[in-house]
C-alpha cells in the first residue's frame, strides 16, 4: 500500500479502474454476442471511438477551465458537410488542404464561442447551446437539405477509413484511428509538459488564485474554445471520410457523447483536474457500449438513455470515490526538519 501510494495518484487509480471496467464490459458483450471477438467488431468500434476521442480531447480542455462546449456536434456536422461540398466540387484538392479547410472551419466557429464566453462574460453553457442551434441552422439552410454522397468524393477520401496503415497481429490500424491516437499523444504530452497548457489546470483549479498571480484567464478560456473548435473540425473531416454520405443531421448528439466521454474519463466537470488520456478511455467505454448495444439490437433511444445514466453515475460517484481515495492517500502533512548546516544560522536559530 505504501509503495502504491508513493507511485500512483488517486486519479490514476480511477483511470485504471475504468480500464478494468472496459475489459469487463468487453468480456460480457463477448459472451452475449456471437462473433464479437473479430477484427470487424474492433474496426467498427475503433472508428466510432476515434471521432468521439478527438472531440473529447477538445472538450477536456474546455471543461478543465470550468466551461463546457455543447456546440461540438454542430461544428462536426457543419465541417463534415461543407468540407464534403468543397471536395465534391474540387476533386483535385490535396489531402492536406482538405484537412486544413476542415480544421480552419471548426476553428472559426470555436473563435465565435471563445470570444463570447471569454470577453462577453456569458456562461459557456448558454453560449454554446445557442451556437449549437445556430451552426446546425446555418448548415440546414445553406445545404438546402441536400446530401453529400460518396460518389461525389475523390477516391482517396472514400478509401481512407479502410486504409490500413499497419497491422498489430490480425488487427489492422486504420488511418482515422491513427489520427485519433496522434491527437491523444500530442495533447496528453502538451497538457502534462507545456507550461502554457498547465495554466488550463490552474485557472480551473482556483480562478481567484489565478487572477492574483496575473494568469490571463480570458485568453486561456478563449484558447480552449478555439482548440475545441479546431479538433471538432478535424473530427468533421474524419466523419466525412468515415461515412461518405453526409446529411444535415450528421454528428447530431455528439455533444452528449463527448461530455459523457470526458466525465466518464475522470475529468472533473467543475474544472481543474483530468487528463486527455482519461477522456480517451471514456470515449472507448462509450464507443464500446454504443456499438455493442447496437449489435444486441437495442434501440437508439435506449442507447442514449444508457449514455445519460453513465454521465450521472460518473459525476455522482466521482466525488465520493475520489474523496475516499484522497483520504487514503493523505499524508501526515508537513514536518519541520533540522536546517542544513550550510545555511547561515544566526540569531534565534542558534539560541
Amino acid at each position: 500500500m505504501r509503495w502504491l501510494q508513493r507511485h500512483v495518484r488517486p486519479e490514476q487509480v480511477r483511470e485504471l479502474s475504468l480500464l478494468i471496467l472496459i475489459i469487463v464490459a468487453v468480456i460480457i458483450f463477448g459472451s452475449l454476442i456471437s462473433g464479437y471477438y473479430t477484427a470487424r467488431t474492433f474496426n467498427r468500434i475503433a472508428s466510432s471511438v476515434a471521432i468521439i476521442t478527438v472531440v473529447a480531447a477538445g472538450q477536456t480542455l474546455v471543461v478543465l477551465t470550468r466551461n463546457i462546449d455543447l456546440s461540438v456536434g454542430s461544428i462536426v456536422g457543419f465541417t463534415a458537410y461543407f468540407t464534403g461540398m468543397i471536395v465534391a466540387a474540387n476533386n483535385g484538392l490535396p489531402a492536406i488542404v482538405v484537412v486544413l479547410i476542415a480544421i480552419g472551419m471548426g476553428m472559426a466557429m470555436g473563435i465565435v464561442n471563445g470570444v463570447i464566453v471569454a470577453w462577453g462574460g456569458v456562461p459557456s453553457i448558454i453560449v454554446t447551446l445557442g451556437t449549437l442551434a445556430i451552426y446546425r441552422g446555418l448548415l440546414i439552410d445553406y445545404s438546402g437539405a441536400k446530401t453529400i454522397t460518396t460518389e461525389s468524393l475523390p477516391k482517396w477520401l472514400v478509401d481512407l477509413p479502410t486504409t490500413e496503415l499497419f497491422y498489430i497481429g490480425s488487427i489492422d490500424m486504420r488511418a482515422i484511428v491513427v489520427i485519433a491516437i496522434a491527437v491523444v499523444i500530442v495533447f496528453q504530452l502538451a497538457t502534462s509538459l507545456l507550461a502554457f497548457f498547465r495554466r488550463f489546470y490552474a485557472i480551473g483549479s482556483n480562478p481567484d488564485a489565478a487572477a492574483l498571480i496575473g494568469l490571463p484567464a480570458q485568453r486561456m478560456v478563449f484558447t480552449a474554445f478555439v482548440l475545441s473548435g479546431a479538433l471538432s473540425g478535424l473530427a468533421g473531416f474524419m466523419t466525412l471520410a468515415r461515412f461518405g454520405n453526409i446529411t444535415v443531421v450528421a454528428a447530431q448528439g455528439l455533444e452528449l457523447q463527448s461530455v459523457a466521454a470526458v466525465v466518464v474519463g475522470g475529468v472533473n466537470i467543475f474544472g481543474g483536474s483530468g487528463t486527455i488520456f482519461g477522456a480517451m478511455l471514456g470515449a472507448v467505454m462509450i464507443g464500446t457500449l454504443e456499438q455493442s448495444l447496437f449489435r444486441l439490437g437495442i434501440s437508439e433511444f435506449w442507447r442514449d438513455a444508457v449514455l445519460g445514466l453513465l454521465i450521472l453515475l460518473a459525476v455522482a460517484s466521482d466525488a465520493v470515490i475520489l474523496n475516499r481515495l484522497r483520504a487514503l492517500w493523505a499524508r501526515s502533512g508537513m514536518t519541520l526538519v533540522d536546517k542544513p548546516a550550510t545555511l547561515p544560522t544566526t540569531g534565534e536559530a542558534t539560541r
Binding site: L193, R198, N206, W329, M334, T335, P344
Partner: protein, 514 residues
C-alpha cells in the same frame, strides 16, 4: 553580515535604507474614507506589525500594496524609486507578495508546480524532474519536509502556508505581507510559522504582519503600527509599546457620539443559555437575557459571535449545552423550530440571507409567516399582506413610494428596516440582530437604534451582535465579549468601557489594562 545581527525585538537598523515607503496614502469608497494620510516605512529585515480594530483600514492598505486597489492620493517608493502598482502581477514583479489567512493555492496542482506557477523564464516545457528538485531544495532551505509531488489539495493549512512562503522566496520577495496568517493554525503550527518568519527576517525580507493576537505581535514584531478609523495612529519600536498602550491607541476615539439608550426596567429572564458549544467553532458560552434587555455581543470578526446567533436560530445547531426559553428547556434544530419558539434572527448579510431583492417589500415582510396570509384554498391574500406592510412602513419610517416596490430598489438603510419588519412580523420574544447598522447611513442608523430601544421597551429580549464599538456601548444593558470562540466575560453597562471591551476582545488580562 548586517542582517545577521538582527535579534528579536531590537529596532531594525536605522542605517538600512527602507525597501518600501508609502507616504500620504488616501483611499475613499463612496462615503467612507478608508485611509487618510497614511505613511508607512518598511525596512529590510524588519517584522512590522499592524494592529487595529475591524475596519480600521489595514486590509485597504494591504490591497493597495498588492495592487488590488489604487490609492486616490499619495506615493509609493520601492528602494527609493517611485512606483505604481497596477495589478497583483505587477506587485509580484516588484517583489511584493502576500499570504492570507486562507492560502490561495491551486488544489489540483502539485506542490512544486504551485511554487513555480508564476515564474517566468523556466521555459515553455516543464522539466518535471528539475522542478521537483528545485522545489525540494527551496523547502529544505526553509527546513520544511513536504512531498513536492503531492497535490496541494489535502495539505494542512500550515503546510499550505509553507508552500506560499516557498513561492514568495523563490520569487526573491522583498516585502512579504502576512494577513492574519495564524488565525486558523494550532499553537504548534504557529511556532513552525514563526520559525520561518525569523529565517526570512535574517535574509533581509521586510515583513508586514497583521494579527489580532496581541501575544504573537509582541513575540515576533520589531515595530508596531496602530491604525484607527483609516488613520495611522502610532508607529513605535516594540520595546516602547505595551499591550495597554496599543489598545489605548486602537480605541482612543471620541466617545459620546451616540447617546446611551435609556435603561428599561428589567423583567423576567427570557433566555438562559448554558455552556453552549459547537465543535471547533465556539465553546462554553453562557448568558441570560431578560425581558426588555439588550445584550451586546462584542468581539473581533471571526470571534464566533455570529455562530452563536446561528446556533440559537437553528441554522447551524449547537453540538452541546442547553438553551432555556421562558424557563423551559428547548432544542433548536432548524430555523422553523426557532421561529415556533418565538426567536427571530436578522442576518448581517442582507443580500445573501436576509431579503429576496427582486420581490416586493410586502412579499418580503410576509414571507416567514406566509401561512397567516393564506386563504383556505392556499392563495395569498395580497390585500392583507399590503396592509401589514403599510403598518410597518409607518412604524419604521421606511422611505418608499409604495410597498409593492422591489426591495432591491431601496437604499441600504431602508432594506435594513424591511428586514427588521419581516422579523418583527413573526412577533418574536427574542430578537437576534447581527450587525444591524452595518453599511447604512447615519440617519437610518439613528432610526434603527431608536427602534431597538422601542422594541426593548415592549419587552422583547434583544441579542445584538455588533462590531461597531460605540454602538455596542450605547445600546447594550450588558456586553458579552467573545474571542476565538470563547466567552471572555460579561460587562455591565457601568463596567463596559472601550478599553475594557477591547482588552478582552484582544485576549489581554483585565488587570494589565487597568
Amino acid at each position: 553580515m548586517a542582517a545577521g545581527r538582527l535579534v528579536d525585538g531590537r529596532p531594525p537598523d536605522a542605517g538600512l535604507p527602507p525597501v518600501l515607503e508609502m507616504s500620504d496614502i488616501a483611499k475613499r469608497f463612496g462615503a467612507t474614507q478608508a485611509l487618510e494620510a497614511v505613511s508607512l516605512t518598511l525596512r529590510p529585515g524588519e517584522v512590522h506589525a499592524l494592529l487595529g480594530e475591524n475596519g480600521a483600514g489595514k486590509s485597504t492598505l494591504i490591497k493597495i500594496m498588492t495592487g488590488v486597489y489604487q490609492p486616490d492620493r499619495g506615493e509609493i517608493r520601492l528602494a527609493g524609486q517611485p512606483v505604481t502598482i497596477g495589478s497583483a502581477a505587477e506587485a509580484q514583479r516588484h517583489g511584493i507578495a502576500a499570504i492570507y489567512q486562507e492560502p490561495l493555492l491551486f488544489p489540483d496542482l502539485n506542490v512544486a508546480e504551485n511554487i513555480f506557477i508564476s515564474h517566468q523564464g523556466r521555459g515553455a516545457v516543464n522539466n518535471w524532474r528539475k522542478m521537483f528538485r528545485d522545489a525540494a531544495d527551496i523547502l529544505a532551505a526553509l527546513g520544511v519536509s513536504l512531498d513536492v509531488r503531492s497535490p496541494a489539495r489535502g495539505l494542512t493549512l500550515a503546510a499550505q502556508q509553507s508552500v506560499e512562503i516557498a513561492k514568495a522566496i523563490s520569487l526573491n520577495v522583498r516585502v512579504l505581507i502576512m494577513d492574519e496568517p495564524t488565525a486558523s493554525l494550532s499553537a504548534h503550527e504557529v511556532a513552525q510559522l514563526f520559525k520561518l518568519v525569523r529565517d526570512l527576517r535574517q535574509k533581509g525580507v521586510a515583513i508586514l504582519f497583521v494579527s489580532h493576537r496581541m501575544e504573537e505581535v509582541f513575540e515576533i514584531a520589531d515595530t508596531v503600527t496602530v491604525f484607527r478609523d483609516g488613520r495611522l495612529i502610532s508607529t513605535r519600536p516594540r520595546a516602547e509599546v505595551t499591550p495597554q498602550s496599543a489598545i489605548a491607541d486602537m480605541v482612543g476615539r471620541e466617545v459620546g457620539l451616540l447617546k446611551a439608550r435609556p435603561a428599561v426596567a428589567k423583567g423576567d429572564t427570557i433566555l438562559s443559555v448554558r455552556n453552549l458549544s459547537r465543535e471547533g467553532v465556539f465553546r462554553d458560552v453562557s448568558f441570560d437575557i431578560n425581558r426588555g434587555e439588550v445584550l451586546g455581543f462584542a468581539g473581533l470578526i471571526g470571534a464566533g459571535r455570529t455562530d452563536v446567533g446561528l446556533a440559537l436560530f437553528g441554522i447551524e445547531p449547537a453540538s452541546s449545552g442547553s438553551i432555556m426559553l421562558n424557563g423551559k428547556e428547548i432544542s433548536v434544530r432548524s430555523p422553523g423550530e426557532a421561529m415556533a419558539h418565538g426567536i427571530a434572527y436578522v442576518s448581517e448579510d442582507r443580500r445573501q440571507l436576509g431579503l429576496s431583492l427582486p420581490m416586493s417589500i410586502a412579499a418580503n415582510i410576509s414571507l416567514p409567516v406566509l401561512r397567516r396570509f393564506l386563504t383556505r384554498l392556499g392563495l395569498i391574500r395580497t390585500g392583507e399582506e399590503r396592509k401589514t406592510a403599510e403598518a410597518f412602513r409607518k412604524r419604521l419610517a421606511i422611505r418608499t413610494p409604495d410597498v409593492d416596490l422591489a426591495v432591491g430598489k431601496l437604499s441600504g438603510g431602508n432594506q435594513q428596516k424591511v428586514m427588521l419588519s419581516k422579523w418583527l412580523n413573526t412577533h418574536p420574544r427574542l430578537l437576534i440582530l447581527d450587525e444591524p447598522t452595518r453599511g447604512i447611513d447615519v440617519g437610518a442608523k439613528a432610526e434603527v437604534h431608536a427602534m431597538i430601544g422601542e422594541l426593548a421597551a415592549e419587552g422583547i429580549g434583544i441579542l445584538m451582535i455588533s462590531s461597531d464599538m460605540p454602538e455596542v456601548l450605547a445600546m447594550s444593558d450588558r456586553v458579552l465579549v467573545m474571542r476565538e470562540g470563547r466567552q471572555m466575560g460579561i460587562f455591565s453597562r457601568e463596567e463596559a468601557t472601550q478599553e475594557r471591551v477591547m482588552t478582552a476582545a484582544m485576549g489581554q488580562q483585565e488587570d494589565a489594562a487597568a
